[in-house]
Point group: D2
Chain length 344, copies 4
């Protein structure tokens, strides 16, 4: 079969590799699509400690069952999403419900091969841990590829406990930010504002947010005050970009007792963030990290796409064949596309 | 009566001022003691936006009722603690239970005169809002002065939700750190570790903590690992000093999903803290600010002192007469004393 | 002015009484409407320990400011809702955030006169505690009368912590049940089912719920299974009627770890409920009582009506003049109307 | 080896059965002790739907490793506790953190053979799921047998969220109630009261509780008021007996917003409990079921025994040889002993 082999930083080749076999108790899946994630871009440029090249990466995958030896009841031909993170369910962190911090974590695209290939073998362990979800008929495979990033968004908002009446500010409206806006509404936020530097993305966010602004053109503090002063300010801020300045801005804009999510990682090469710590102290702010998602959140993410509560269609800029994976990565890097789905 | 008048930065005079009268519906209290707080030291050197000199400051006060016009049932001669922060109980933040962030906050030593004086008039409003607590007979007035800082500690640990089985690290063992250690035990922490640079204070902390270390002499990471590796690391870190480096250390030492409290403010002149934000993101840490306390926490603090659950005696370095307030502030500044109680 | 005077059980007269005056620091309000509450019906038939006749009752009130001595900035002519419960904000329960259990609770229609009269005097205390809310222009006064019961619904769902993905069953779809359905959706419930004995009310609920059934005609267990078996059953059940059998049914229908709200009180004359306690124990269910609401919830309720998140119009069966208050109560009692608004 | 075979209600025989073998990847354990649980008594008299006779029951087990094929690092000769409930870690309930409600639950003494036998084979699955814990040297095996019931107690108090300052009432001071008292203290309760009908058990409880009373001799309401009126009443009530009347009493004694745990199941033959439901509604009480425990709680339970935070020694009435299992069950039934440990 054809597969994209990640051989190291800035080095991906499309190659013919032996077709994987359905493991005893496992499955063989034909990949319909695998969306390019920001972390793929980072891995491409900087490597990833959890990936040893050569390797098939890609972890936002939807496909179709070709062979099923697992006895889990799913039919050949059934379309499914393949979850990324596979927590063990019985380590210290799992027993605390902290599945994303599993001490025995494995993942598709990391320890197990990923989705930038024509076929994927699914191990019985992954099936047992519940990372596969059936795609309803009315959801197309491209949309289904966004299940995993949406699950991460759900993880972030669970940690933040976004709820009825919250005034939420999302900083950065890439695909992730646009999903955050929608999930905040689904959880009952009274108002969702968005800040974004790129006017094309701002135009997309406008569909979802109550009010939007470009912080390069309009003072963010005035923007936030205009819409939320009477409501007590923004009490939730989600930093949906990997930018230290935005993390600092979040502290300034949050109301007293505001909750902030550092949803994006900073560049590995410069992870330092300089913040006014007294804003945390005197306003009793809380800052939460959020990383990855668990199988339950993947299931819920697909349900939200299916019910229409989250509309991911406008976030998919295009689809490209496997051969163009590298240029898709570069395009993502340049911020030209929000989400690109690779069709192997 | 004699009172210490704060006239501006580095300027306090002891003066005779007119004796205050018990307001209609209020009280007159003879001050037994008022402990020097780190924020008094900051106000002395840098001023405080909420204090307009000349003013009687001091807010960790215990005294005795001389006259009571409030009809609240407390007897003349009763010893009481006078709470600092007086939340309104009906603003947006109060109705959310965020009493420390009250939009109409007033406080003794700020809008109302403080405890560095022979007598204090207590307004009916303060009485109504429940900031006075009766001191049990077996608790002396000096100990009772620590009710307010202990209440702040309780506020921090409520926000952190310290509980059964937590492994807690306290960085900085001044009076505040030593109270944090004890409260963590009272809330069921399985282990409490402490780091402190000053060996004299470390010796005091040794009475309370399970294990202690001086980070100048021993690698903090090794220290923490030695005692908690088998238990999953420290999942709670309390930064009980106003030092940016300690805030950064907290991120490094906390286990995945660890909860961190920035309990101390950084110096007004340099409130910037440079942190590795990726530790928050990838370890899904949470950081909580904590500032001040509410009347309920003051009541609970005094109960914990009374029950012996928190022993504040070893934290009181000495008591000094009102005339020596300025030198007490300087002594605190130099870190020579943990807590000094002023006896006006 | 004309007022309805409750003189004791089954005895209300419409009388001319002296016009109240705007208190110093208070307000005079012309009542536009006051909705009849189930508790008015109970008071009419059985009395209420907190009401000493003769008294003006009625507590779901909207009106217009005629005179304002409070300096709170509201204009004469401004339409407002008058909150019922007035918590003190500083007792033990208030400082725990349990405002509905305030130890010094007072309320309009109880300690203060209610809304079944042409005019109401508003005390400065009520204004200070924040129980008045401005009605936006596009919300009519009849709708605004439902602010208070909707606030109670919000209180119930806050206690239940209804959230994203919950499968909620509402038993009883009077005005209260219909608001519960809508609030559950606003908080992100994945599915909301409703059971109701009266087919006319079921027809109203159909507008709001995902699926409905009449338990007299269809087995409730089969109904719930049909729609939620694949989703893990109903994990939230709200008993929105004062019927012991429905409380027992809730225990049977809730999934393991399900959360149940006893939203309705049982008749004073027979408050006993016989339940299979082992369902609670073995399924680790939780049951929550919910009673009344706080000023913050009243403010949020009016916002939800204003934003359209909750549509109360279909719940208002009719409006009647003050003279017909007694017949309105009887009509409510017979279950013929959902909500009747009295126009004094 | 010698084993007790449960053949049906009121029918246990001590028999020689084939020695079990250590499974591939599993272990063979020599049983040191297995404590008799109230549910063993119920199974003896009424059967248990999850147990198909003939079967070796018993699930509060401590023993010693004889053979270890698992590679988990535990040494032959190591003493361990064998957890009862084995959750799967990946079903819907597990992924919500509701491990006690696992949809694929298995357990020692139920699906897997129990501890009333000289030896137990431990399946690799049980080992992987983390149900074995090493017993520290200074803890004897009899004490270690109480790990599992103590874990259940921890589960109950986690669900109740017992914490600093709570006033806790425990109804029933068998072994379970006495552990509840101690755990409430460990979690920071300000006061723990206990009610018990049997004066011998009351004498044991006196060691642990702040105040005790026999409700047959003293009015429970007066008792509770005497000690907690000034503190706001008891805000947590744990019903540590399987008695409907005690469940009703809990509702009466709990303060407004009180939290109640139905820790004991009622007799299968009469599980109905008649309660005044209006107490729940008007006092906004919450009632929580609690059933069984998870592996994390088992680990924590053994730690609490080891640290001395919970002293189980006074709760062990005696130990008896396997031959006397049936008479031990009868003795438990008659309430003559608190805990009996069987030594096979
Ligand atoms: N927590 C998790 O589990 C998880 C999962 C997936 C993704 N992520 C992270 O989430 C973040 C967003 O992902 P994405 O795919 O949506 O990324 P993206 O396409 O790069 O979107 C981020 C957007 O933020 C904008 N932005 C940057 N700085 C800003 C500022 N100061 N103010 C306002 N807008 C600003 C960017 O504009 P410009 O392009 O003009 O700079 C960009 O449009 C990334 O950091 C990613 O690593 C986290
Ligand atoms: N949140 C609130 O409501 C609240 C209330 C009261 C106080 N506070 C704050 O709590 C903090 C502690 O109060 P305190 O009265 O106990 O102050 P303190 O007497 O200054 O004690 C802080 C201690 O931390 C030590 N320390 C400094 N840097 C350290 C490091 N990197 N590692 C280990 N130890 C370090 C200091 O040692 P050296 O003296 O050798 O530097 C000092 O002994 C202050 O920042 C205060 O402003 C907050
Ligand atoms: N917690 C609070 O703060 C608060 C505030 C306001 C109201 N409430 C309470 O909330 C409840 C509902 O109020 P409401 O004004 O909507 O009352 P309602 O008009 O009496 O509505 C209750 C509905 O439930 C139906 N019902 C009764 N038993 C049922 C059963 N076994 N299965 C299904 N449906 C059943 C009734 O049908 P039939 O008429 O045919 O019997 C009725 O239509 C009342 O108990 C009220 O006291 C509580
Ligand atoms: N949730 C779980 O996971 C779990 C785990 C283990 C056990 N349990 C349950 O926990 C309960 C206690 O277990 P145990 O082993 O301690 O049982 P136990 O030995 O039967 O103790 C219960 C005690 O409660 C007393 N009592 C009964 N009614 C009372 C009343 N109205 N007021 C005060 N005291 C009363 C009993 O006295 P008399 O003997 O004089 O009646 C008895 O001494 C049992 O119901 C058991 O099934 C639950
Ligand atoms: Zn794990
Ligand atoms: Zn306030
Ligand atoms: Zn109150
Ligand atoms: Zn499970």
């Amino acid at each position: 079969m054809k597969a994209a082999i990640y051989r190291g930083t800035e080095d991906i080749v499309i190659q013919d590799v032996p077709m994987p076999e359905a493991p005893a108790g496992g499955m063989l899946v034909k990949v319909h699509g695998c969306a390019v994630c920001g972390s793929d871009v980072r891995t491409y440029f900087f490597g990833n400690s959890m990936i040893t090249p050569p390797w098939i990466i890609g972890h936002e995958t939807a496909g179709e069952i070709i062979e099923n030896n697992s006895g889990n009841g799913m039919q050949v031909g059934q379309r499914i999403t393949v979850g990324t993170a596979i927590p063990c369910g019985h380590c210290r962190q799992c027993y605390l419900g902290h599945y994303t911090m599993c001490e025995n974590m494995t993942a598709h695209g990391f320890e197990f091969p990923g989705g930038y290939a024509e076929y994927m073998a699914i191990e019985p362990y992954a099936i047992q841990q519940g990372v596969l979800n059936c795609i309803p008929e009315h959801v197309n495979s491209d949309e289904a590829c966004l299940t995993e990033p949406l699950a991460c968004v759900l993880n972030g908002q669970e940690i933040l406990n976004v709820g009825l009446g919250d005034r939420v500010l999302v900083i950065g409206t890439g695909a992730i930010g646009c999903m955050h806006i929608q999930v905040a509404h689904a959880r009952g936020a009274a108002m969702v504002l968005a800040l974004e530097l790129d006017d094309r993305r701002l135009a997309v966010a406008k569909e979802f947010a109550d009010h939007i602004a470009n912080p390069a053109k309009e003072d963010p503090k005035e923007f936030v005050d205009r819409w939320t002063k009477d409501l007590g300010g923004v009490n939730v801020v989600i930093v949906a970009c990997g930018v230290a300045k935005a993390q600092m801005l979040a502290l300034e804009l949050a109301s007293p007792r505001g909750r902030i999510c550092n949803f994006g990682g900073l560049p590995k090469t410069d992870p330092m963030s300089t913040i006014n710590a007294n804003l945390i102290h005197y306003k009793e702010l809380s800052i939460f990290g959020s990383f990855s998602s668990n199988p339950r959140q993947n299931q819920q993410a697909l349900s939200l796409i299916a019910s229409g509560a989250v509309n991911v269609k406008p976030l998919i800029s295009k689809s490209l064949p496997l051969d163009l994976l590298e240029s898709a990565i570069l395009e993502m890097k340049r911020g030209e596309s929000m989400k690109i789905v690779i069709h192997p």
